[in-house]
């Protein structure tokens, strides 16, 4: 069999080719370029699966430099592009290409059949999006990661603003780019700092900055690094870590930079699915996983991550409780779910985070595509209060959507249950050994579980159950196979996804059957995964020179049961409240609080104020100063000269006698001056 790694570059490059093709002659292509996109992503998916297979059956981690970006000429640092395909990357590649593949197919129904215009732009952007994300995933150094991170941002800008003729989408696109840009600013500072500190930004290899940092902190300090601003080594590492974290919080929509994500719903729904499940938002969390060994060195950084994650999970869930638009609810649930992943990462639950990322990718994509189907059926009306009773009219959508919801709510035995449980459990494990920050995060997490289940099923019931509340709901537009197929696939996956890592039952099935854990620990591959393996991470986490976490041994069953119960409580509440032919909007009873939640705690207003209320006036002031102050001086010099000129001309009175007088005066003046100087008299 041909070594799959010879073509691994193609995973990202093929979508790029498709992008160029569509861009060049999209309008002349069948389905306006959809097919080429499908083909490309399908190809990527195939290769990724082969890679996974290979790694699962004792292949080797693939790490190689592709080309040199800036040689540095011996004097400066070298900037280069390279490939790193380890288990984590392979898994992520598969997820991304899978979701993207399905989204392409779904788009056939969602965009083409609806007769949208500008499809060439749409599919070109989709392909570029896929390319950027895939390249980001297998990039082997921080700089390359940043570059494709930015490109991902660009594509989301293009796709969110796809319907540029309306007012909303362009503004949402701008917001998305700006807010993430703000995060990326810190990220870039971080990248530059890493360069300046370690002279390299490689993730893997014997001299990756992660390894260097570890060696520096190890008791027998063998590594080398520069520190700046007179900070100690661990402190500086923390600073760098937090800087990079800025980018993560922007892209993964963590508080307080989450505001762009709900607005991003302005984009076509398939795009939302892509952004939320696998690409843009996932990128942030993936970055933390990618350089987890680095974060593991700094307890402070981890604490911040956990706290931010936990709080976001809770905070976003509260807002999801009251939303009326289908996609809004999903959007906030995304924010909340990524909060979980951050919580896990901060809490030392590397495996759990990856697990949740995987399952979430599946069921969230499913939910969005389902929502997309509903939206098509409802003629782009997203308000859940105008729906109801769709259950009988679009069964496929209903059942798949239900599975997705159960997964999201974390109900046994759906995928979400296993992963969310892993997250909470691992956090608790480390929290109990005296990590107050983690404990707080864990508490937030638990609260969020209830609310998640609640708003999920509020959504389900409002949408599908009861009586149709509008005519469109009574006779929804039927949807085609191209939309059903992805739903079915994802539905199936979200049922069985949990088998990857049934951590709760590890006492029964034995930890050798925790496939994901083994996978990430590099047990399946031949050769050592070394500093990239989950084992190594835990080792670092628990060593004193680094985070210094300790594990409190306790059975996973207890916490698992607790989470499940809470979930069921939330679910039950939702069912109780909204299981009626004509459900009543209970949330209005919340009154003030509801308004607050509806307005997302006025955070958007706050950010808008930062822009228009602070920056803009400042700019105007600067402009005024520039025009009147600086330029005033310049022009003032001109007018002064003019005035002087006017005065000087007046000396020339035209009367010759005055001339004679002035002449003699000048002479006398000279005489006097030199008389005194020369001492004539």
């Amino acid at each position: 069999m041909v070594d799959v790694f010879n073509v691994v570059e193609a995973i990202a490059l093929v979508p790029l080719v498709s992008f160029l093709l569509v861009l060049a002659l999209g309008n002349r292509m069948p389905k306006k370029g959809a097919l080429s996109g499908i083909a490309a992503t399908g190809f990527s998916l195939a290769i990724s699966l082969l890679v996974v297979l290979d790694l699962a059956t004792g292949g080797e981690v693939y790490h190689e430099e592709l080309f040199t970006f800036v040689a540095g000429d011996g004097a400066g640092v070298e900037l280069s592009f390279g490939l790193l395909v380890d288990p984590l990357a392979a898994l992520m590649l598969t997820i991304v290409s899978l979701i993207s593949f399905l989204v392409h197919i779904f788009s056939l129904g969602y965009m083409n059949d609806e007769g949208e215009i500008g499809l060439r732009r749409y599919y070109a952007s989709l392909s570029l999006f896929t390319f950027s994300m895939l390249a980001f995933v297998y990039s082997d150094n921080l700089l390359m990661a940043f570059m494709f991170f930015e490109l991902v941002g660009l594509c989301s800008f293009l796709l969110i603003g796809f319907w540029f003729r309306e007012a909303g989408p362009p503004s949402a696109a701008k917001k998305a780019f700006l807010v993430t840009r703000f995060g990326d600013y810190f990220f870039l500072v971080g990248v530059v700092a890493v360069f300046a500190t370690f002279g390299t930004t490689a993730f893997a290899g014997d001299h990756s900055f992660i390894v260097e940092a570890t060696h520096v902190l190890e008791p027998d300090a063998t590594g080398e690094m520069n520190t700046f601003l007179g900070l100690g080594e661990q402190a500086w590492i923390t600073v760098v870590g937090l800087l990079v974290l800025g980018g993560v919080m922007g892209k993964s929509a963590q508080f307080p930079l989450h505001t762009w994500l709900p607005d991003a719903m302005e984009g076509p729904t398939p795009v939302s699915a892509l952004i939320h499940a696998a690409t843009m938002v996932a990128a942030g969390v993936y970055l933390v996983m990618r350089m987890y060994g680095f974060y593991a060195l700094s307890p402070t950084a981890l604490g911040v991550i956990a706290l931010v994650g936990g709080f976001t999970a809770f905070f976003a869930a509260t807002m999801a409780l009251v939303k009326q638009e289908l996609k809004q609810v999903l959007a906030y649930s995304t924010v909340s779910q990524y909060g979980y992943m951050m919580l896990a990462l901060g809490g030392g639950g590397y495996v759990g985070a990856v697990f949740h990322l995987t399952t979430h990718a599946i069921f969230k994509a499913l939910l969005f595509l389902g929502a997309g189907a509903v939206i098509i059926a409802m003629h782009h009306n997203e308000n859940m209060w105008d729906m109801g009773g769709l259950k009988s009219r679009m069964p496929v959508t209903y059942w798949t959507f239900l599975f997705g919801s159960l997964a999201l709510a974390g109900i046994f035995p759906f995928a979400g249950f296993w992963s969310k449980d892993e997250v909470l459990f691992e956090t608790l494990q480390h929290a109990l050994s005296g990590e107050p920050l983690l404990l707080v995060g864990y508490a937030f997490g638990l609260l969020a579980v209830v609310m998640t289940a609640f708003y999920t099923f509020r959504m389900v019931y409002l949408t599908f159950h009861g009586e149709p509340r509008t005519d469109t709901a009574a006779s929804p537009e039927p949807i085609g196979w191209s939309m059903k197929f992805p739903l079915v696939v994802l539905g199936a996956l979200s049922v069985v996804g949990g088998v990857l890592n049934m951590g709760v039952l590890k006492d029964f099935i034995g930890s050798e059957n925790l496939f994901l854990k083994k996978w990430l620990e590099g047990k399946t591959i031949s050769g050592e995964l070394g500093p990239l393996s989950a084992e190594e991470y835990h080792h670092i986490l628990e060593s004193d020179f680094a985070a210094g976490y300790e594990v409190t041994e306790l059975s996973p069953l207890g916490p698992g049961a607790l989470a499940l119960v809470l979930g069921l409580v939330g679910l039950g509440a939702a069912v109780a409240l909204y299981r009626a032919p004509e459900p009543t909007p209970h949330m209005t009873k919340l009154g003030r609080i509801r308004t607050l939640l509806m307005n997302n705690y006025y955070l958007d207003e706050f950010q808008v104020w930062l822009a228009t209320g602070v920056t803009a006036p400042l700019a105007r002031a600067a402009n005024k100063f520039d025009q009147s102050g600086i330029d005033g001086v310049v022009n003032g010099a001109g007018s002064v000269s003019m005035f002087t000129g006017e005065r000087f001309r007046r000396i020339q009175t035209g009367i010759v006698t005055n001339y004679a007088a002035l002449l003699s005066l000048g002479l006398v003046l000279l005489l006097l001056v030199f008389g005194f100087l020369g001492g004539w008299f």
């Binding site: 035209g654 006698t657 007088a661």
Partner: protein, 101 residues
């Protein structure tokens, strides 16, 4: 008998200043020219007097040249004053002020 040289200097200075005074106060072009002549002659006084003192003729020669040039100057001057009179119907030097500033 010879007068002390300083007297000559004083005299010429006096004449010069008289001329300058005339230049400054007289408005008629003719008077102006006359005043200038006075100043030139002041120079001549010095030259002649000190030519005696220094015992060389340079001064006197220059004085002669000076007189001749003064004559030429007056000639040109009169000519200009004539056309001035023709164009401005007056020889008042302060009248001709079409060009100023």
């Amino acid at each position: 008998m010879t007068a002390p040289l300083e007297w000559y200097l004083v005299l010429s200075a006096g004449v010069f200043c008289a001329g300058l005074f005339g230049v400054l106060v007289r408005q008629s072009a003719l008077h102006f020219v006359m005043a200038v002549e006075l100043m030139l002659n002041a120079a001549n006084i010095n030259l002649v007097a000190f030519s005696l003192e220094h015992g060389n003729l340079t001064g006197q020669v220059f004085a002669l040249f000076g007189i001749a040039l003064a004559a030429a100057e007056v000639a040109i001057g009169i000519g200009i004053i004539l056309v001035l009179n023709r164009n401005f119907d007056d020889i008042d030097v302060t009248e001709a002020v079409t060009m100023r500033w």
